[in-house]
Chain length 325, copies 2
Amino acid sequence: MDGITDAAKAPATYEDVLAAHARIKPYILRTPILTSSYFNQLTGAQLFFKCENFQKAGAFKVRGACNAVFGLTDEQAAKGVATHSSGNHGLSLSYAAGRRGIPCKVVVPRTAPEAKKAAMRGYGGEVVECEPSTSSREAVFAEVVAQTGAEFVHPYNDPRVIAGQGTCSKEMMEDLGGLDAVIAPIGGGGMVSGTCLTLSEISPTTEIYAAEPEAADDAYQSFKSGHIVAYDAPVTIADGLKVPLKENTWHFVSRYVTDVLLASEEEIVAAMKLTWERMKIVMEPSCAVPLATILKNPEIFRGKRVGVVVTGGNVDLDKLPWMTK
Amino acid sequence: MDGITDAAKAPATYEDVLAAHARIKPYILRTPILTSSYFNQLTGAQLFFKCENFQKAGAFKVRGACNAVFGLTDEQAAKGVATHSSGNHGLSLSYAAGRRGIPCKVVVPRTAPEAKKAAMRGYGGEVVECEPSTSSREAVFAEVVAQTGAEFVHPYNDPRVIAGQGTCSKEMMEDLGGLDAVIAPIGGGGMVSGTCLTLSEISPTTEIYAAEPEAADDAYQSFKSGHIVAYDAPVTIADGLKVPLKENTWHFVSRYVTDVLLASEEEIVAAMKLTWERMKIVMEPSCAVPLATILKNPEIFRGKRVGVVVTGGNVDLDKLPWMTK
């Protein structure tokens, strides 16, 4: 009985989102919301793009990372934080720790782009290299934590991170008033879970769509089958969306998501390029997935006010996907 | 005596800017102003980027075009408007005319990119092709005007256009309060003249810098010599900045500009790429020139609050300058 009750207990509540917002405000940007009459005409919807690509460290993940870092006691903080991530979470945690002035160790495959490692170091993070395998990553990470006692901040399965990501849709609702739907990309489900957490409390009639690459459709398969499906090593250009759901994000995704929508690699690249051309913003492949699914399923969104989370803008300008064709 | 008085009379006044702003507000965006702690650290200045790359039709030029189009009497408007431009002014005039529902003819060299022509048509403009020479352009344009009686709206030498561009720095001052300096790219001088017009009235102590490619330094040479210098066909990646000053823009540039600063082609491309990477915004080569000159002359801007006009974001994503090296 206890077990069942625990399983149904929310990993984080809207009170955690409110506390997170107060805590992180000095360290994050209130990102602008852009509109595009071109995309409104093309889709028949009213789209509101929440530009987290302009966020500190270039992505929404800094919200969750800051909430985790600035929520630590001084005693915890003194030992620093640690994570494994070659992407935006590693950057974001480095930024957050740098702002608090505490150590941050990020375990990164030695094959990760040098530019990413340099950026983490630039924010004050310490890059600890591992071999590009799960076993090496886990071994190296365990050693780092054993040596330092650093607090592990998971990229998305951490309730503090989910509550932090929930501040994004809180800002959207404050700035825009009512929305009929919100759509965000889904990888591990941190942003979508935060969106569920906030909207289920303050706007329960707003539909929540998760957008995913067909080539890494584990969240779609999970949603349709009712249990977590995980892939070993999916291949997609949307490299932020390869990771699987975990229990804390599944809690929210399974309860509050309206539907998971899919887009092909070609559709993702086309939506990405079109956004750069028409909206003049640099977005990563991962965050072109929502627009790709809207263009593919206009009937779902027509006539609706839709918030679109543009999750990040960290992209290698020397390797743009439409240049390599 | 009359001649001297006329020569000194301002082509447009701040009252014209106020009227323009009221007139064009329904048709333009109030563009956001972005900041970047990265660029602030790099330069030692506080930079405020006014993102006219997010503007309707992708550039500030829609301000002047809308002011000209919506200031026409119904009788004038019925005959339509015309201009010669293969760039942002042609797009902007097409947009403005389309919003008013009047004809717009744009004389464009047949060698201009098809994408640009298609975009003009998409806004409702009619593209009239000429040969890529000044004589052909002038002949074809004269024919268009003779046939239609259309109102000529010059890309920058038109007082209505200058007053329209002046609304941009008006918005910056309203949103930011005091600024120590404003910097904008200079080609024909429309934006810089509008900036001079507004700031000389509402913030005369704010310095005004014009940024220009070394490879097309006609405004610099004009400023230093005290009379208009024009080049025949300068070659620069900043293709919006090739045109020379004319009498109405020279009026403002010669009186109110603090200095003209230069950047090399390499510096322009580097600043452009760095902005895409760090600010996640798509800007044209032309509007990377101000940042390139700030990076080159940090001592001028250190410790100052500086408004930077990001003039436009219309760029060919298949031909990015750092990809062709």
